[in-house]
Symmetry: C2
Subunit: 333 residues, 2 copies
DNA sequence: TTGAAAGCGCTAACAG
DNA sequence: CTGTTAGCGCTTTCAA
């Protein structure tokens, strides 16, 4: 049994034309007489001919494939981004090679290089941290890259995101207006660009301006369990308002607070700086910054298609509007 | 700027060997003298040579790529499966082409065919329903396929799953032992193989054996909102024990029940027949059937690697052990 | 509107 | 241990 039984050559022979003509028909090239086209198409149907994409890729140097570098696909945040990318990719008939880099089995730069070796036409990068090694690979290649929900703080890679500074500021304002003065910021990765270059400076500045003492930052809190655990520390330090980067961790904090008999939002307010379905299904419902994740993915993919078609981008750094959704973990005036 | 500047030919010339020898070095073939190997490797390094996977694929007829057909990547259930697949794939150096078939943009059989055209070495299929059209494509190809967390009820495609009959039976027993007599089964897709061929027969049989009247089955309940909505019906029909196929929908039911002042588990018990992180973060915590999702994915991928290496499978239908995790939505004796 | 022919970059006999 | 030589299946000039 063969992987491929019928090739373009078989079609050409049966239809009594050259391979070139079959190729034209397959690729929708108009320079074919209608009668010829019909004849070829009927042979294609009769023989169940399917073009070999690998051969097409080698000959044309286009694979109609894009690479997706994602930190962790079990994180709904990224899954929703990926869904937006996927849908647009499908419309444009691009396939997606998925690389989840959560495991330590392969270095990120090797993953990216492997994508390049597969001759992807473009890549979308959504890891929070753009290491120098990865950046170097991006710089060396002519294959277009778009960042989704991430930033390239120093460089100028095209990106789609929200205004993290503004979102952080609004969240802090809300806590402050509600009378909270002992604020904390709970994050997963301190060195993620969006944290170190955006949210943290805003947070520290806010604390300073309002004379709220020392900025309290808790790191490495990403999972539900880590959220549950960090609550004890928050309570010990008498924190009464907290911004949490992941809503999964925020769910842990909320449940731990409820278990400890703490009243939310009266005595303790929580805002998630990033959100997924989870913010809707915990009780009390989570006040959160809602990014248009699906749209971020969709826009990023659309930008990539332009880049892959050698078009220019009108905007290289796109900021999409976000929403501060006031729910039950803040006083919600 | 070119996509590929240095080819195997350049390396051969610089190292003063033939392309064949370079190819041998690249592929770790042992029939190369150490000194030659070293010389070639140093040239490879100096020139930053990277093999073109597309050309390799065309020449060798192996792409070291597998296709993943997934219904909806924003469903954590599938995301966790995919993670297991991804990790094993990474170990064996396979890339993953991801096809989310949730959108209506492309028919499933076309998606599968497109994967075949890309010359994937194998496929893992995780959609709940194996349509005749898709099955036909699978039957026609010699490319190996493994089903993960799905069944091929009539056919004999290799699969990895749990014992759905047993899981359903245990869940029903638990509700019955707790004194619940007005049972219902809430599912997303009635025609999913695991439902129509496994769970539903067990449910109907149970109802009959215990003389519990007419089996109540609620369909098309998949999302959180749909779960919230279906609760009104459950209440109206005085259901006191329900098995829900998706834990996301179960979360909706629980929250709606709480909002209606219904006491869980005293007056109303809930068991999720499939579970993810969500079962842990709702309150009360959800009693659920826990499938080893990551392992199912991992085992499926391992089976696929064997098939792709032309090895035989000792077991074509693997059943992994599951757990009925008793938490707060059942009386939990 | 069509065909001939030269690759795309690599692998895999085969011969030596 | 190494090189020669055909391809893999398709696209793409270039001529006709």
């Amino acid at each position: 049994m063969h992987k491929q039984d019928v090739t373009i050559y078989d079609v050409a022979r049966e239809a009594k034309v050259s391979m070139a003509t079959v190729s034209r028909v397959v690729n929708g090239n108009n320079n074919v007489r209608k009668s010829t086209r019909d004849r070829v198409q009927s042979v294609i149907k009769r023989l169940h001919y399917q073009p070999n994409s690998v051969a097409q890729g080698l000959a044309s140097k286009r694979t109609t494939t894009v690479g997706l570098i994602i930190p962790d696909m079990t994180n709904m945040f990224f899954a929703e981004l990926a869904q937006g990318i996927n849908d647009i990719a499908t419309i444009y008939r691009y396939s997606i090679i998925l690389s989840s880099v959560s495991n330590e089995l392969m270095k990120e730069e090797d993953t990216v290089q492997s994508l390049l070796n597969k001759q992807v036409d473009g890549m979308i990068y959504m890891s929070d941290r753009l290491s120098p090694a990865v950046h170097e690979v991006f710089d060396r290649t002519s294959t277009p890259v778009v960042l989704a929900s991430t930033l390239d703080a120093d460089g100028d890679l095209p990106s789609v995101a929200i205004d993290y500074r503004k979102a952080m500021k609004q969240a802090l304002d809300l806590l402050y207006q509600d009378g909270k003065r002992d604020l904390a910021f709970v994050i997963s990765d301190y060195n993620a660009t969006i944290n170190v270059a955006r949210r943290i400076p805003v947070f520290e500045n806010f604390i300073k301006e309002h004379h709220l003492g020392v900025p309290r930052i808790y790191r490495d809190v990403l999972t539900y369990d880590q959220g549950e655990k960090v609550f004890a520390q928050l309570q010990q330090e008498h924190v009464d308002g907290v911004i949490v980067s992941s809503d999964l961790a925020a769910a842990g904090i909320i449940n731990a607070a409820k278990a400890a008999g703490v009243k939310i939002p009266e005595d303790f307010e929580v805002i998630a700086a990033g959100s997924t379905k989870i913010s809707e299904l915990v009780r009390p419902k989570l006040t959160c910054v809602r990014s248009p994740l699906y749209d971020i993915g969709a826009v990023a993919m659309r930008m990539l298609t332009k880049l892959m078609g050698d078009e220019d981008l009108t905007h290289r750094k796109v900021k999409l509007p976000f929403n501060l959704v006031k729910q039950e973990t803040t006083l919600n005036q």
